[in-house]
């Protein structure tokens, strides 16, 4: 039996010529949800800064009234104030986006049933509100 002769176009002789697709450097600008993701990732830098700022505050308090007054002066400088205002914005964004994602990562069973996602998210927000109220009460009770 004679083998049928198969005509190949030149490009399939060794390997088809695949075209590799590349991701643009600005891929995160191509969709609002990608941008929200990148902002959420960047927010961790501001979370870190907030921790550093709180440690500085605690250090100033421990060094006495003069050091604390200096710290307050430094905090009211426009640059520090601006940074802190931006940080608060990013902290809220960080908390809200993560709380909204929590139901996807957490599967909790209670009484043989799976706890609905809305309840998990709501309990995160409730814990946040309670913690905030507790801190507010600690700070304001003497005033």
């Amino acid at each position: 039996m004679i083998e049928p002769r198969i005509e190949h176009p030149a490009y399939t002789l060794h390997h088809p010529r695949w075209l590799r697709q590349h991701v643009s450097t600005y891929w995160w600008l191509s969709k609002p949800s990608y941008l929200a993701f990148i902002l959420r990732e960047i927010s961790s830098v501001f979370v870190a800064w907030t921790i550093v700022y709180l440690l500085l505050a605690a250090g100033a308090v421990s060094q006495g009234a003069v050091a604390y007054a200096d710290f307050l002066d430094w905090s009211s400088a426009p640059a520090v104030l601006t940074l802190n205002v931006i940080s608060v914005g990013f902290l809220v964004f960080h908390a809200v986006t993560w709380f909204n994602l929590a139901p996807q990562a957490m599967v909790i069973h209670a009484g043989g049933r799976r706890v609905p996602g809305a309840v998990i998210a709501a309990s995160n927000y409730a814990a946040w509100a309670i913690a905030t109220a507790l801190i507010a009460w600690l700070l304001l009770r003497r005033g």
Binding site: Q21, V23, W27, W28, K31, Q104, M106
Partner: protein, 263 residues
């Protein structure tokens, strides 16, 4: 025959508007980059994107290449990028994009073979690497005469969502991590690994964890969450991956604190 086709297409013309498809072409024998070709197709209310492409293939340009099979959202072949979003073209209505034009590109992040056809070997290899089948410990297998391994509806409910995956790869196309880091094992493969891990009949979780706890496994994911948004079967791969991370972290803590007693 020819007259009949013309008559048919004319009858379609009368009852519907038209819409322009801007289709990506890549013909490796004549070009080194993709080009865009526009086709004018009818746009009846009940036509999906795939109907438009089939119209092009049948009536306008037989050289257009794309994959499709079932036309009912279960084979997972017809995934393409429609106006920048990964979509199953058999489950996306043309009229949603009226008055057009509609941009139809191949799935992102995969090498293009021709026109809208992408090379899926990478995904297939990753899929098998997570062993998406029921693994049993042979020595502890009960004899056939004892019957099947039974499962309650609640136990089935635990993994059923992940078992709906049709391997359409829309999640890979939506995942920027996969685009930037091609070694990342990806959403669908991890969701399918989780499907078997959560199955009460399965005993292969440890074997799968060896593959998935590597850097290119679950830890490659930064929870962009797009995979879940584009999934046509509501599989929620992002959720599967985060749950897996939690499980892997607990396992490693266990082996750290209880080196011998963890298993």
């Amino acid at each position: 025959m020819r007259d009949r086709i013309t008559a048919q297409s004319r009858s379609t013309d009368h009852i519907t508007d038209h819409i322009t498809l801007q289709v990506t072409r890549y013909r490796p024998e004549i070009e080194r980059e993709t080009t865009m070709q526009t086709y004018e197709v009818p746009c009846p209310k009940d036509w999906v994107i795939l109907d438009g492409l089939n119209y092009v293939k049948d009536r306008i340009d037989g050289t257009l290449s794309y994959r499709w099979s079932c036309r009912m959202g279960i084979c997972g072949s017809c995934g393409m990028t429609v106006n920048g979003e990964p979509k199953l073209t058999c489950a996306t209505f043309l009229s949603e994009y009226a008055p057009g034009p509609v941009r139809i590109e191949p799935l992102r992040h995969f090498p293009i073979v021709r026109d809208l056809v992408v090379e899926i070997g990478d995904f297939m290899r990753k899929l098998t690497s997570v062993k998406p089948w029921i693994i049993r410990d042979r020595e502890r297998e009960k004899p056939l005469s004892d019957g099947e391994y039974l499962q309650t509806p609640d136990e089935m409910h635990e993994y059923k969502q992940f078992s709906m995956c049709i391997n359409c790869m829309l999640c890979y196309s939506a995942c920027p991590i996969y685009g930037l880091e091609p070694s990342f094992i990806g959403p669908a493969a991890i969701a399918l690994a989780q499907r078997y891990n959560l199955d009460t009949r399965d005993q292969g979780a440890e074997e799968r964890l060896a593959v998935l706890s590597e850097h290119a496994g679950i830890w490659g994911c930064t929870f962009v969450g797009e995979c879940t948004k584009v999934c046509p079967k509501n599989v929620d791969p992002a959720g599967a991956i985060q749950r897996y991370k939690l499980q892997a972290a607990v396992e490693s803590l266990k082996s750290y604190f209880m080196p011998r007693g963890s298993r």
